[in-house]
């Protein structure tokens, strides 16, 4: 070997060493691109949350909490009579407290931990092992504990929706017990089945799901469970004293409208946040959410204008919330035009449900939890099956679900929705029977006259 050749050999060997490191660099760059693309990293960056996604999800979690406290509390609180306003606020606050503790003890684990297809296990009880590292099952770049907190906020607002149907007459204690039990018997299993990595109906992520349904942000998990349970609960509880005989009108439409604005604002965390990333899908969900809310609002306004010459604030608020609830399961799957269609359907269906259905069957769904959330959630679940497209959500291209998209996906939705509806109804009936026997579900007539605030909470909403 000439010296030159030797030098060359050494150089090349050196270079080989360098190129040996190369794949490392390539991998590291790919992982950084994975951060942008929201795909899972494979190199040494693994285990780190990505700031853009993580920040967005913390904001989203905050927004979803804001939907309940004070959003929903005001939306509902404004609609009851002045003497019961604090009872609604107390229920929202109490749920935030109790559900959080349940979630910490076992709720998150039962909902999102691996276990059977029907319910998670106990591996994450007390949030053991739920650290700031991402869990790629749920978000490649979002801290696992942020995801757990984000999902907690959903778990808080869901039973909160039930308040609307039983307001002004249910005992505080009974409602808290009902909701705690309902979380364990309805919410945790349903959340697991639809959203758990190994869930029985999780068509989007679980290739082995028996029912391949999709639920982007909680049409089934949030709105159907709570809405149908609410209907049953208000039927069992009976109407408020004076219902249909005396005027029972909102004590503050202003509060109700403020609550609506907060709900809409927070709903971006709810829907766009359900992408568990600040990515394309989140962007699509953001867009769909906005359009459906506005169209729902307009449908109510136009119908009221046409039928009664007076578009009302409550009508527009109801329409917006209906649009939001209905787009929820579909928000990350549909085009802008799809969202407009869903908003249209949402407005029409809930207008009829609140106006005609309720007066026809004469049940007292105090603040229309059923008329808005169950009707909207059910409709949206179905329409998500019809209008979902892989162009908006590339995850629908997974080979186990792609064949269904645009064909029979709606049928999976019907199956999933139907089963969850059944479960909600049955559990509600049983829970009501037990709790009514043990502690009594309804306040005494005297208390209903006087208002729940003083009797159950020892306070008044306003003094002069």
């Amino acid at each position: 070997m000439t010296p030159l050749c030797r030098a060359l050999v050494l150089a090349v060997v050196g270079l080989f060493a360098a190129t040996a490191a190369e794949p490392g660099l390539e991998q590291r760059v790919s992982d950084l691109e994975a951060y942008i693309r929201n795909t899972a990293p494979a190199g040494p960056i693994q285990g780190n949350p990505g700031p853009g996604h993580n920040g967005w999800m913390m904001v989203s979690a905050g927004l979803v909490l804001f939907m309940t406290l004070p959003g929903l509390a005001l939306f509902y609180g404004g609609l009851v009579r002045r003497k019961n306003v604090l009872s609604v606020l107390a229920q929202c606050l109490g749920l935030a407290g109790i559900v959080t503790i349940l979630w910490w003890v076992c709720g998150y684990s039962l909902s999102f931990g691996k276990g059977s297809p029907f319910l998670g296990g106990f591996q994450w009880s007390f949030l053991r092992g739920v650290t700031a590292d991402p869990n790629p099952d749920y978000g490649a770049w979002v801290s696992h504990n942020v995801y757990a907190m984000y999902q907690l906020m959903f778990a808080i607002i869901t039973p909160g929706l039930i308040i609307g149907a039983v307001a002004e007459r249910m005992r505080y204690q009974a409602l808290m017990i009902f909701c705690a039990a309902w979380m364990v018997l309805v919410y945790f299993p349903v959340a697991h089945m639809l959203w758990g990595a190994d869930g029985w109906m999780n068509g989007l992520w679980n290739s082995k799901a028996a029912i391949k349904s999709i639920d982007f942000a909680g049409g089934i998990v949030v709105h159907m469970t709570s809405g149908w349970s609410a209907l049953i609960l208000c039927l069992l509880l009976g109407p408020r004293k004076g219902f249909g005989r005396e005027p029972i009108v909102p004590h503050s439409m202003v509060l109700c409208m403020v609550g609506t604005g907060m709900l809409w604002f927070g709903w971006y965390g709810f829907n766009a946040g359900s992408a568990v990333a600040a990515d394309r899908i989140a962007a699509n969900a953001f867009t769909a959410t906005t359009l459906s809310a506005a169209v729902g609002l307009c449908v109510w306004a136009v119908l009221e204008w046409t039928l009664r010459r007076r578009p009302s604030v409550l009508g527009m608020c109801s329409g917006a919330v209906a649009g939001l609830a209905t787009i929820t399961p579909a928000s990350g799957f549909v085009t802008p035009t799809g969202a407009v269609l869903i908003g249209l359907a949402a407005g029409l269906a809930t207008f009829l449900a609140c106006g005609k259905l309720k007066s026809f069957f004469r049940y007292d769904d105090s603040l229309d939890t059923f008329g808005v959330h169950a009707v909207g959630g059910t409709l949206g679940t179905l329409l998500a099956g019809v209008l979902a497209t892989t162009e908006i959500n590339a995850n629908l291209s997974a080979d186990w679900i792609r064949p269904l998209v645009g064909t029979s996906l709606w049928w999976e939705q019907v199956k999933a929705g139907g089963l969850v509806l059944l479960l909600s109804v049955v559990v509600t009936v049983i829970l009501y029977a037990v709790i009514d026997r043990v502690v009594g579900c309804r306040v005494a007539e005297e208390i209903e006259n006087q208002g729940l605030d003083l009797a159950e909470h020892g306070e008044e909403g306003y003094t002069h």
């Binding site: 004076g242 006259n449 006087q450 306070e459």
Partner: protein, 112 residues
Amino acid sequence: MKRIEAIIKPFRLEDVKTALQDAGLVGMTVSEVKGFGRQKGHTEIYRGAEYTVDFLPKLKVELVVPDSQVPTAIEAIVKAAKTGKIGDGKIFVTHVEDAIRIRTEERGDQAI
């Protein structure tokens, strides 16, 4: 003419109104008041500080009626407002010397 002033429990208003209407009395004026009497108040607790609230929400219904209708009116109110529990309220009757309907300037029994 007499002025009948009834202090009643708020949730009885609808019934009182209906009873008076049924008795052919359509005019009345209602105001929100706070009542203090034999009926015990309630306690409110704010961060450990207890307050006894003696003043309870009541409604005051005032109506001016011709002398002849005073018994009818009283009866209607009593029937509709009575729950039998303490705090049902009172009715006071005073004499009214004149009444004027602003719109027409009619006077006396015509005006009410």
